[in-house]
Subunit: 338 residues, 4 copies
């Protein structure tokens, strides 16, 4: 850590800071500069001392030097993690496409979609049984009945299933039915839920919070990993900005950034990020080109009748065309669709 | 709702939209304009039909006309709600100041702070027993033991207590000990928790999510109220912007805005919003002047030794001076401190 | 335009609004709804009337229905514009790569870069002679001398040249030397400059303002086009968000969005958007995959000695590798590098 | 400056960085930590060296220690600057209120407003002759004729006049007519204009750019001051966020923040920040309470007929009531209206 002193800091103020650092068990080093004095703090994890010095007289700021996350970082593990979800791999050279409806509505809707996306090349099925809704009066999913429909669709098509879990009390049931637990954007910093899924013995898909920095997102992943569950796949799904023409702003630069900072796999959800069907295919291709490990796309047999997120769902035909394009681009990048 | 058609929309496209609207049980009205046709949709709550039409050929957009929240809105109840927390009132003419440490650390720290803030004029005690922390390795509070210290501080000083609850499983215990349940910014859209506190029979302080619009915030309040709990106090605590010199950006214009849209009381937390002690007093005074119903301020006997949020905590002396200034400004505004 | 009345609006309030609309020469239509009355306003361009009604008693809001831009919109011209810059085309099927140093430093630096990027397949040279710098004490470019070096590099390599112009007084000189005038992000709403380049008789590259919505950006383009200059290429270069790990947040969804709203070509600048060399190649590939018409990339013979933006500049070797990858991906998308 | 090395940085990588720093004339000091090595860089203004080292192998980041602005900082001049505009003072204990219409429309409108605001206690007149408009087809002001109306209103009422200048070519004329030159939010980083007003011999009101950090804003002020013009008043007018219910988000914490970082005075424009008349009075009072040196408020004889910004303009009566409230609050804060 580096403590910056004001240009006018007095000798007694400086000495008080040095004393403070030593009292907390760290070793200070004075670094005189042209304009001001800086004080380096040596020793293991001096971040805790930061809060104690920034309020002292004469101190401008204290800058941490270490990254706050540990086990999810590249410095902890240089080689990339490959997460295996019932045979589907994220983090290797293959590009894995997850598809399905926003919400599970009924058996016909789910099964027909599962068959269609499998035929087009998707390797995993998504579908919401428990839906987080900003408006309490919106459709909130079929709940446990929706989970059973997902199980049946898996039996029918062989596709592993990912579905969202909203609260710690539901983790056990959802982990029993699904192959992968999704933590949604509104729960990205629901630390109780993160710990619960960290103990559930299932791979986790962790969406980025609506206004989370990449560092905060990795810290949320650290919550899961610190419970002993290393099978975490990150999912970029757009962040909140001033732009109103798209639902959110897809931050694709997070893909290579996360890959440089962390060993965890990262996929992209272009449906929630953009909110508009005609933007989904271009952003899916861009996600692949940016180096993502996979994609999660909303597909619906009849988007105009969907109970949620219809405007951003692809038809079966549109999804099939997208898969063909993805296949060609993957090949050009010396990768392949799994 | 108003459906906007493309300038080049064809007659069959228009007719398909009109049919669609009628099939969903609403009545469409054609509104020809110079550049394009708009279609008005009459009838109760046509919002549900929005998702079904925005994807149709020829449709540019569909604009909802009704506010999505109901019971928390001014149109539902014109007169302001007064929330009574064990005798402390929010939403009347008085200005109620809540103060205390960020985290409950030990009995001496809590009791000395409770006495000091009561002496200076605070009417309620804050203190975190369960602390949500971005970093899993940070101090996360004393938990149940912290609740007992809060109970003892209340017995000692008579100040009602507000404290944060992090997860539905803790709601019963926290509601048994505290006078008011706080839902924090990271849980502002944790809908399971919102419903749980809505059923707990205790007043709720609902912080604004880090990047929530005022409309989303009111919808979160609607979650609580729709469970039968009308005693909700909103708390503005800063939103996330590009500015890095402050912890967040305090959005004081949310105060008069919320007052015009909703009947619920609103208080301001200048400590978390700014993150810097020297900004807390000016923003506290500004909060009062903007029309807030109260304040929640962090105070610590020795901020430089605080286990969390020391840099933004006031000393007893600074808090006393602030209370004096608040008293004078309240009087100038024909209000008074409660 | 649609005027929304409060639920409790009185008949006299409604009548006053109707009168008001008629006085301004428009025809109002009453649209009764379940919760409130809406008033449709028919006629050409009623936007001007908006400001006059939103303050009237009983009015909640007035929602414009028309897009505010005209000549740059798809509804004005359905087919895409192809901008030809001394033989280099933007807006057709080809993907055109512009490359060069951030700032023109000296003849050796510029000429060696121009030769290297041409050899790798770039079709246009970038280089700043006038540099806008946030800090008045930073290097601000060689000015007119830099323009002469650009002219010499063009003579030597045949590459057309794009360079930034900062103020109306410089437009004539820069237009005389360069093939294309760049308006930078900080000047994206410098309307005097936009009009000046609109009259300069040279193609214009218009960067998106740091926090401009796509609609505002298109309105800035409308300023140029409304002066008679239709040769405008838009350049997405990242917007400002809360994320601090990248210089800005590249908004690639703006590419397909602009393509759906406007007929103007759009290119992407991944260097300024990310600020980090290792993110430039992935985002360049993603830009191509998202449907962009081209790329503008910073390249420097020795980035660590660059006078500005070294950390985001590619070496010659890195640029060569990127061009190879772009070529392969373009082919997979049935496009080609120009 | 502090250079952070990767945990795995090799000795040759470290030595290369040390050499690099020495070659640029600075002295490096090694600061070993538990996780990584940091390298302190001593000497005057090592910021220039930052760009040269962050791209070197083994380097994570380089953190500047000095503030980039100089003359506008508190460390350059501890005591606050008082700017005198034809007798009206900003930066002392008094609170100075500027009021007037958004745009100068005609003599009757301007003179009646000038008389009304003077009667209510305003000490300076605002009014736009040159209006920057996002939409090229909006009303853009009366130009030079508007300046003459401002001159006449000053003769009539004695109120000094502040008006916006859009481009360097207009600076001489506007400086000849007005008492203070305003640089608007869209031109906050139009560096040519900043230098031109820095040479104009008139006090300058510098609005904050729509997404400018406080540091960038102070650097824009540094542009003006570095030309020899020390009479700069900063004006906070809201920043851009995700919130759509207000025009922008007024960042009042910028007031005490600027006061701690800079000696320049700061005023607040609540009209543009909020965009809604009913939010202007609460935010004006809050601005005073936050420690601002003054206010700039839009007032119009008949807001519903205003040619621009009617919805955010106060009537004469509303402005009078606001002034009464401001007077009482100022007194409570031991200040007074000038």
């Amino acid at each position: 850590m580096l403590i910056l002193m004001r240009a006018q800091a007095t000798r007694p103020e400086i000495d008080a800071v040095l004393d403070h650092v030593r009292q907390h068990g760290y070793q200070p080093i004075e670094l005189p500069g042209a304009e001001r004095l800086a004080i380096g703090v040596l020793g293991s994890n001096p971040i805790g001392v930061r809060d104690h010095v920034v309020g002292l007289p004469g101190v401008v700021d204290a800058i941490p030097v270490s990254k706050p996350y540990k086990q999810v970082g590249r410095e902890w593990q240089p080689e990339r993690t490959v997460v295996d979800v019932s045979g589907v791999r994220f983090g290797g050279t293959e590009f894995s496409v997850i598809a399905g409806p926003c919400a599970v509505e009924d058996e016909a809707q789910l099964t027909s979609t599962a068959r269609a996306v499998r035929a087009a090349g998707a390797v995993m099925l998504r579908g919401g049984a428990y839906k987080p809704r900003t408006n309490p009066y919106s459709f909130r999913g079929l709940g446990a009945a929706g989970l059973e429909l997902l199980v049946r669709a898996r039996e029918e098509t062989g596709l592993p299933v990912v579905t969202e879990v909203l609260t710690p009390a539901d983790v056990e049931l959802v982990a029993d039915r699904a192959d992968m637990l999704q933590v949604g954007t509104r729960n990205a910093q629901n630390f109780s839920l993160l710990e619960a899924v960290g103990q559930a013995g299932r791979p986790v898909m962790l969406k980025r919070g609506l206004s989370n920095t990449v560092e905060e997102w990795l810290l949320s992943a650290e919550y899961v990993v610190s419970q002993g569950n290393r099978d975490v796949v990150l999912c970029e799904r757009g962040v909140r900005t001033f732009e109103t023409a798209t639902r959110n702003t897809l931050d694709l630069s997070a893909v290579p950034l996360v890959r440089s900072l962390s060993h965890l796999p990262i996929v992209v959800d272009p449906s929630h990020a953009t909110g508009h069907r005609h933007l989904v295919a271009p952003m899916s291709l861009a996600a692949l080109a940016s180096g993502a490990d996979g994609l999660m796309v909303e597909v619906h047999p009849n988007p105009d009748e969907a109970l949620s997120d219809g405007p951003q769902s692809l038809t079966f035909e549109q999804f099939g065309e997208l898969m063909d394009e993805l296949r060609r681009v993957a090949e050009a990048l010396h990768r392949s669709l799994s």
